[in-house]
């Protein structure tokens, strides 16, 4: 019995994703990941002022609202050899750290949790027992029986109204939901609390970038001057607000996010045995203590892990054309070099060529192109990027705080290190790196304050702001570790304007379709790793593994530039 299951739209993600699964009995035999929306932002970027590019690139995605802005200004700065002041580097680190923690917490509670938490079951919870459970896990203050009774009453009123809104048609009562009612109620309470918490912590972006989503960035530094004697600049009042945000982040991660992750995971240990897929992990590295050329100072180390082998980290070189290539054999694009070939982003080209079925359609022709996402490869191997890659790279490179944290979490769950190679391993890695980052943020903040105290208030380097100071032609690459994984932007500047722009983003690595040789992308491989469905009309299992990647499909599908445009050789610093 062979059945094709289609899940479209995949909800609780960023963007438009479709999954088709070819079943063998109740087991997924083949999975196909399709990005179903394209805009063409790189084409739009051509001819623009490179100093403006961050704003266009940033609109690739409003969830990871910072990452494309940062990658873009880094690409332009790399092209121009443009140094930024130390304060600007620290402020960018703080903004990146805040993005991570905000993003990871919202992903866990608002996008992923309801794959594991049965909201309807929470109605059966005993508030007293829920309070006891919460207090046994953490010292978080909101844990009284009255508090949980209020949450339950609010939920009951809502359900009684008959208008279930966003909770309508959930797979409530599915046998794969295994939490006791009390754990479900606690998670629902934290779902609501996290919504209020995130409104507070984004203020860090507002202070330095004027708003969130889509804060402002600036080539050459940051657009938030420091002056302790001015009301209208970063001053002591602003710094103390930033400190408050960092404290709130650390507290929530330590007292809510981390304990909840471990508590929920402990009921789903079989999900530490499936959903790995590729076993290859890639990381560009990020968060410098000094500057982007000094890779040894990165908090996240760059490198590649192959076939789960943590004893060996392969070096990654973004400008080696033999290393990173993108394929379009199963994507709705053409290459002038032929559809079976791979191209490095230097030589990248993208011509929209929709050859899928005419909408409305029921099923994709997966032997043909079936996605707006390309298939990037490292030395022709498919790679997973994201939190699990970073945690494994940190672990493999001997980062002691990571090792200690991983040992602690695995001991709590009574699991071996190999359990990280899985659906829930990916989810747990996201939590662990949030803890590392929250702690690191305090360090960057202290550095910023002591730098200001020493009298250094510079935030912007004016030297290369004027395009008349630029060479006629130059090019550069900006990279970063976005919350969802390795992100690279490549820019070519000619006569002060953008001649070409390319981006290879985390969800392109993870969500891409098969390549010319038939190798699956990370989502596909993970779904093909021991997934059986209890009820094919309620494919909860598919959602669990797909959500463990935290898909960001607007990011993955943004490409489109004119064919055949020459991309000139790019030197990556460092």
């Amino acid at each position: 019995m062979s059945e094709r299951i289609v899940v479209d739209p995949i909800t609780r993600i960023e963007g438009h994703l479709r999954i088709e699964a070819q079943m063998k009995g109740n087991r997924i035999e083949q999975a196909y990941s399709s990005g179903t929306m394209v805009r063409g932002i790189e084409t739009i970027l051509k001819g623009r002022d490179p100093r403006d590019a961050w704003a266009y690139a940033q609109r690739i995605c409003g969830v990871c609202t910072l990452v494309h802005g940062i990658a873009s200004i880094r690409a332009v700065e790399d092209a121009l050899n443009y140094d930024i002041p130390k304060n600007a580097q620290l402020i960018r680190n703080l903004m990146i750290g805040a993005q991570y923690i905000h993003d990871h917490v919202m992903h866990f509670y608002h996008l992923h949790a309801l794959d594991w938490v049965d909201v309807v079951s929470a109605l059966k919870a005993d508030p007293q027992a829920t309070a006891e459970l919460a207090q046994s896990l953490s010292s978080w203050p909101n844990s009284s029986p009255g508090y949980f009774a209020d949450t339950r009453r609010r939920l009951a009123d809502f359900v009684e109204s008959g208008q279930l809104g966003i909770f309508a048609n959930g797979y409530w009562g599915h046998p794969e939901y295994k939490l006791p009612p009390e754990a479900n109620l606690m998670a629902v309470a934290h779902y609501l609390e996290a919504l209020a918490w995130q409104r507070e912590v984004v203020k860090l972006h507002t202070i330095f970038g004027g708003k969130n989503p889509h804060p402002n960035f600036l080539v050459g530094g940051v657009a938030s001057p420091i002056d302790l004697n001015s009301d209208s600049a970063i001053n002591a009042r602003r710094l103390s607000q930033v400190q408050d945000v960092i404290s709130r982040m650390r507290q929530f991660v330590d007292q809510v996010y981390l304990p909840d992750t471990l508590a929920i995971a402990s009921f789903y240990k079989e999900w530490f045995k499936r959903g790995e897929g590729l076993g290859n992990f890639l990381c560009y590295g990020d968060l410098p203590a000094t500057n982007m050329r000094d890779r040894d100072s990165f908090l996240f180390p760059p490198g590649v892990i192959l076939d789960r082998d943590l004893s060996r980290v392969h070096e990654i070189d973004m400008h080696d054309k033999a290393q990173i290539q993108e394929y379009v054999a199963h994507s709705w694009y053409n290459y002038s070099t032929g559809k079976e070939t791979g191209l490095h982003p230097y030589d990248g080209e993208t011509q929209l060529d929709y050859t899928g079925p005419e909408p409305p359609f029921k099923q994709l022709q997966v032997e043909d192109p079936y996605s707006w996402i390309k298939s990037p490869r490292w030395r022709d191997k498919a790679m997973e990027v994201g939190p699990l890659s970073r945690v494994l790279l940190l672990y493999a490179s001997g980062h002691e705080p990571t090792r200690e944290l991983a040992r602690f979490a695995l001991a709590k769950l009574d699991l071996p290190i190999i359990a990280l190679f899985s659906t829930l391993g990916r989810t747990a890695a996201r939590t662990l790196e949030s803890k590392l980052l929250a702690d690191a943020m305090q360090g960057w903040f202290d550095d910023l304050v002591s730098n200001i105290k020493r009298g250094d208030t510079r935030t912007f380097n004016e030297a290369l702001w004027d395009p008349s100071t630029w060479p006629e032609t130059c090019q550069g690459a900006g990279f970063m570790e976005a919350p969802r994984g390795a992100l690279g932007h490549w820019v070519v500047i000619r006569n002060g304007k953008i001649a070409n722009y390319q981006a290879v983003v985390p969800s392109t690595w993870n969500a891409g379709p098969r390549d010319a040789s038939g190798q699956s992308g990370a989502y596909e491989a993970a779904l093909q790793d021991q997934h059986t469905l209890v009820d094919s009309s309620q494919p909860l299992e598919i959602l669990r593994t797909i959500h463990s990647f935290d898909p960001c499909i607007a990011c993955a599908v943004h490409l489109a530039d004119e064919a055949g445009d020459e991309l000139i050789k790019i030197q990556i610093s460092g």
Binding site: L228, N229, D231, A236, R237, K453
Partner: protein
């Protein structure tokens, strides 16, 4: 916070009345007109402070300029609210917060008593009937015997 405290310069709350962005001064004039209307025509005025384009520090300067008077009240309904009379009698501040402590409204009322403090006639009627019931059966009264 330790690092922060060690910054030698503290710029919070300059004691001067230098309204550098100048949005406070016209507002104060408007308040004085409203106060006159209240005195002469018994007409109260409400100003939504969220609609005033304050610059950084303006709100704080306004609050400092007007100071705090002898009345302040606390309201617990859908989160906390604070009501206080400024150092200039007849000028009141009403600050509403939601359950998460976030400010949802901030107003000035130039009046004898802010409307939200006065007891609603329907509440008085309900109050009377429940008090009478409580007197008939003192065990029901939640205030009696306190």
């Amino acid at each position: 916070m330790n690092a922060l405290k060690s910054i030698p310069v503290l710029v919070e709350a300059p004691a001067t009345r230098d309204f550098c962005y100048q949005n406070t001064l016209p507002l104060l004039h408007e308040i004085s007109h409203a106060l006159r209307r209240l005195q002469q025509e018994q007409l109260p005025t409400t100003i939504d402070l969220n609609a005033i384009p304050f610059g950084p520090g303006d709100e704080q300067r306004l609050l400092e300029f007007l100071g705090r008077g002898e009345v302040s009240a606390h309201l617990e309904a859908l989160g906390n609210s604070s009501v206080w009379e400024s150092g200039y009698p007849g000028i009141w501040f009403i600050e509403h917060r939601n359950e998460s402590g976030e400010r949802v409204a901030f107003q000035m009322e130039i009046t004898t008593l802010p409307a939200i403090l006065a007891t609603h006639p329907d509440d008085i009627a309900e109050s009377l009937s429940s008090l009478q019931k409580a007197l008939e059966n003192p065990s029901l009264g939640h205030r009696i015997g306190d």
